[in-house]
């Protein structure tokens, strides 16, 4: 019984939250890695693109709610998502036209593009704050739990409760669908294949008549969709605050680099590596240990490697280790 309790506690506090967070990071890292693969620079504005997409989704959600539209038990935000994606796609296509295209045509150093993306980050940050403000916003209006801790306890007779929030299930299901659709697109469609060709060898792709502007535009649209979905899922799961999305930048970059920049499969793996290490290192295992060892063996203090304030240090530490020992990432992305 105690062993089952320990497993339930582990599921409840580590595995389920880390999976949901990992899926959100993976979607974010996919966007970063795609931009990197095609446009060859690290997009610092990605976190704020996520924030912008989420802000628009929230606004549309409010609009739908006031019209009385609801898809209960699912959150209304899912219905608003396509509008958020469309607005974000329009915004990033606009920035590409106004900002990045100039440097692309000039074949500027990648670091200049990074710098320009910092400017874009400022602007998107300002726009997001302008349209929705700086408050913490909860916009999840669906059913809260798929499995409720108290009901789980009464149903199974275990001391430990298992809570499965519906946003966590939605996150995982959506992420699986999105990743499946993305890989189908990249692997099976003509446009997807031309994108991969462009990423592998730009000159050869140009020589075979692939239109670079089209490839770039499609990449931005996909990145906008991924960013909006990731941002909305993160916001549903936790809450929406513009600054938190800026802070997500570090784990997302870490995930993309750990998996190998430019490698979509790696980005997904990287997302889960980062999220599981972050949650496991900052989780207090005392409860789990207490179930497994005889009563008087349980230590008094928390059994925790790092306090939760340092969760960003975990992604950084993993990033440093990967840079030291395998700079191309687990799945051998681009390194130069």
């Amino acid at each position: 019984m105690d062993f089952l309790n320990a497993i339930v506690a582990l599921l409840n506090f580590v595995i389920i939250p880390a999976s949901a967070y990992g899926a959100q990071l993976a979607l974010g890292a996919l966007g970063v890695t795609l931009i990197y693969g095609i446009l060859r620079f690290s997009n610092f504005a990605h976190g704020d693109t996520m924030a912008f997409g989420t802000a628009i989704t929230i606004l549309v959600t409010w609009g739908l709610q006031s019209l009385g539209v609801s898809i209960s038990p699912l959150p209304t935000a899912l219905l608003a998502l396509p509008f958020g994606i469309a607005a974000t796609a329009a915004l990033v296509l606009g920035t590409d036209r106004a900002v990045y295209r100039f440097y692309r045509k000039k074949k500027s150093d990648p670091i200049i593009l990074v710098m320009a993306s910092v400017g874009v980050m400022f602007i998107m940050n300002g726009i997001t704050r302008f349209v929705i403000g700086v408050r913490d916003i909860q916009f999840d209006d669906g059913v809260r739990f798929v499995i409720n801790a108290r009901e789980f306890r009464t149903a199974t007779g275990l001391a430990e409760g298992l809570a499965l929030r519906s946003t966590q299930v939605i996150t995982l299901v959506t992420a699986v669908l999105v990743v499946w659709a993305l890989f189908w697109f990249l692997g099976r469609t003509r446009t997807g294949k031309s994108m991969r060709a462009f990423s592998d060898n730009e000159d050869l792709a140009l020589l075979s008549g692939i239109n670079p502007e089209r490839v770039v535009a499609v990449t931005w649209i996909i990145a906008a969709a991924l960013a909006t979905i990731a941002g909305t899922l993160f916001g549903l799961d936790k809450s929406f605050k513009a600054f938190n999305y800026f802070q997500l930048l570090l784990p997302i970059f870490a995930a993309a680099i750990v998996g190998g920049l430019g490698n979509p499969l790696g980005a997904i793996a990287g997302g889960f590596v980062i999220s599981f290490s972050e949650v496991a290192v900052t989780f207090d295992f005392r409860k789990v240990v207490a179930y497994l060892v005889p009563g008087d063996w349980t230590p008094d203090g928390p059994i925790q490697l790092l306090s939760t304030e340092y969760k960003f240090a975990v992604s950084f530490a993993i990033l440093i280790i990967v840079l030291l020992f395998r700079p191309t990432g687990i799945f051998r992305g681009k390194s130069s």
Binding site: S42, V99, G119, V120, F122, I123, E309, Y310, F316
Partner: protein, 442 residues
């Protein structure tokens, strides 16, 4: 800087803005207060030091540091550790434990590096994780009790290690050393790989240093803040000036009341102090830029392959220049805390301390030290003034709308958010249309 009329005019224009800020009557553009003007000047001078640091990295070598805030913050730690009075009993309570913990950490990393260099692949695969995890546990065993012991000493007033009680000016080079140490760790790992990696790694170290300062109460009281950091030598306290009969009489003779005379005196003395530091730094950086070393750095920046072919060790030179630039940022961080007189880790915002500094360097003219100084003064002036200009502008724009309309209220409320947007716009416009900045490199 070539001493031509254009550059002199630019600096004169900047000085004129500050003078008008102080001397003009209060109107929509200027506040008409010398206090505000000198306040802008002081932070502007520190920002100029910071911009010089970033310019050393970006302008000389093309390195993108996205974690300037971290180096500013770690430099700001120095005044606390050097100039504050010691917390009696704190060091004997946990000081040795902290030292032992850090010794364990250093030994662990050293052992891991040694094994990684010497051992075969199979040994490494097992030994390195074992060493790292074991070392971390030893570190925690020393660190946990020691830090809580220190936090228990005199918790209400201090609860931290306290400082050495030395003059605060000594803390400035110490702050530079702290930042240089952090830069060595980051540079050692992230340099020599592709250029984006340094940006991402510095973004990380920036956030981590700030979160360490926020959470480690034994070190600098975390979010409880450290107040009352001593003033540097020539700067008196306002209250002492006001109680000096001689000073009050002299203030009266120039027609000032004692309170504003004392604040102005203090601010002016700070300005003089910062100006001396800035001038020394400009002299040093200009000398460096004109020396063979500076020529080598430019050669590396402009064509790494050619420089490598001439026998220059690119990664090592990059590491050197990265450490130098970060040290200057740390110096600026220590100066900032000295000016504020308090350490507030909550105020280290990356947008303000990293990306705004970047805007200063780019606008001023990357690669040119005088350009960075001008850019810093100008952007800091605009950034400060935008706080009052934004709402006024918004009030003007919305003056046609009905009072109490939702749109007007929303626009007025978001006026202050427009500062960042404006800074981003300036960065993009300069980068695109005038990438060489106000005072170009050559």
């Amino acid at each position: 800087m070539t001493l031509n009329y254009r550059n002199i005019a630019l600096f004169a224009g900047m000085a004129l803005l500050l003078v008008l800020e102080g001397a003009s009557a209060k109107n929509a553009v200027f506040s008409g207060s010398w206090d505000t003007s000198l306040g802008i000047l002081n932070v502007g001078l520190i920002s100029a030091v910071l911009a010089l640091g970033v310019n050393i990295q970006w302008g000389y070598a093309g390195l993108f540091n996205a974690g300037v805030v971290g180096f500013v913050a770690i430099g700001g730690l120095a005044p606390v550790l050097v100039a504050m009075p010691a917390n009696p009993g704190a060091f004997s309570a946990g000081g040795m434990g902290i030292v032992a913990a850090f010794a364990a950490a250093v030994a662990t990393v050293w052992a891991a590096v040694l094994v990684n260099r010497r051992a075969s692949f199979q040994v490494r695969l097992i030994a390195i994780p074992v060493i790292l995890i074991g070392g971390f546990l030893v570190y925690r065993a020393f660190f946990g009790p020691a830090s809580s012991a220190i936090e228990a000493v005199n918790t209400a007033a201090a609860g931290n290690l306290g400082g050495l009680g030395l003059p605060v000016v000594l803390a400035w080079p110490v702050g530079a050393l702290f930042a240089a140490g952090a830069a060595w760790v980051v540079g050692k790992t992230a340099l020599g790989l592709r250029s984006d990696y340094l940006a991402i790694a510095t973004l990380g170290i920036g956030e981590i240093i700030v979160s360490v300062l926020r959470n480690e109460e034994w070190l600098a009281r975390g979010v409880l803040n450290v107040n009352g950091i001593p003033r540097p030598w020539p700067v008196p306290r306002e209250i002492d000036l006001q109680s000096s009969a001689d000073f009050v009489a002299r203030a009266a003779s120039v027609g000032l009341d004692p309170v504003s005379a004392s604040t102005l005196t203090v601010k002016l003395l700070y300005s003089a102090l910062f100006l001396i530091v800035l001038l020394i730094l400009i002299w040093l950086t200009q000398k460096a830029l004109a020396s063979p070393w500076g020529r080598m750095m430019r050669a590396i920046r402009d064509n790494e392959t050619a420089a490598a072919a001439m026998g220059k060790h690119i990664t090592r030179r990059h590491l050197q220049v990265f450490i130098l630039g970060s040290a200057v940022c740390g110096l600026a961080g220590a100066m900032m805390i000295t000016l504020d007189g308090q350490m507030t880790p909550g105020s280290y915002n990356p947008l303000r301390y990293t990306f705004l500094i970047w805007v200063m360097v780019i606008v001023g003219g990357s690669g040119n030290n005088w350009g960075s100084v001008l850019g810093a003064m100008l952007i800091w002036y605009l950034y400060t003034k935008a706080e009052s200009w934004g709402p006024q502008l918004m009030a003007f724009v919305t003056s046609g709308m009905a009072d109490g309309s939702v749109i007007k209220a929303h626009l007025m409320a978001s006026a202050e958010q427009m500062r960042l947007l404006t800074m981003g716009l300036i960065l993009l416009l300069v980068l695109r249309f005038s990438p060489r900045g106000l005072i170009p490199e050559k």
